[in-house]
Amino acid sequence: AQSVTQPDIHITVSEGASLELRCNYSYGATPYLFWYVQSPGQGLQLLLKYFSGDTLVQGIKGFEAEFKRSQSSFNLRKPSVHWSDAAEYFCAVIKEYGNKLVFGAGTILRVKS
């Protein structure tokens, strides 16, 4: 069965510092990959997605993610974090087009001033 691992439960960064959130998936072929953000009391918002092509994907709010097939990873990055980025971030995969999303357990980002 496919699975998604987000090894960091909590991450704290200073405002203005760079950010990298890790995501690894377990599946033989290349799945479709997503990053979602969830603010307290809110639903999930899609930040970016990777289906094929360029392995560096740009998303909303200044986020980007890089797909590395050799490492089965899809890490999320942002060069300079803002206090409003504090939220929970979920990595998710679809095994193949049309199948259900499988989510990781999430990483809670705290931003300190």
Binding site: Q42, G43, L44, Q45, L46, K100, G106
Partner: protein
């Protein structure tokens, strides 16, 4: 464009009582999803509808959970009777078709006492 609407936002009930959640997807979205998100975890799919047909309900505990989408638009998820372990956030999402980007509602936080 209006997003996915869910109600109620919060619900507190005693165990063994029934409860129902309502979801109105984005206009024109044929695919509707119900997810359950336990504390500290990512969402897990309960059921997926293509128009009014439930096409993936393998994760729905059918002894106590039921769902309907009678006219292929809004949907209701019901639990009867509720158990303590049902305390979670219930998220509704919709997409234009299966495999397309999913848009999430704010969720209903259920507490069973």
């Amino acid at each position: 464009e209006a997003g996915v609407v869910q109600s109620p936002r919060y619900k507190i009930i005693e165990k063994k009582q029934p409860v129902a959640f309502w979801c109105n997807p984005i206009s024109g979205h044929n695919t509707l999803y119900w997810y359950r998100q336990n504390l500290g975890q990512g969402p897990e799919l309960l059921i997926r509808y293509e128009n009014e047909e439930a096409v993936d309900d393998s994760q729905l505990p059918k002894d106590r959970f039921s769902a309907e989408r009678l006219k292929g638009v809004d949907s209701t998820l019901k639990i009867q009777p509720a158990e303590l372990g049902d305390s979670a956030v219930y998220l509704c999402a919709s997409s234009f078709r299966k495999g397309y980007e999913q848009y999430f509602g704010p969720g209903t936080r259920l507490t069973v006492t």
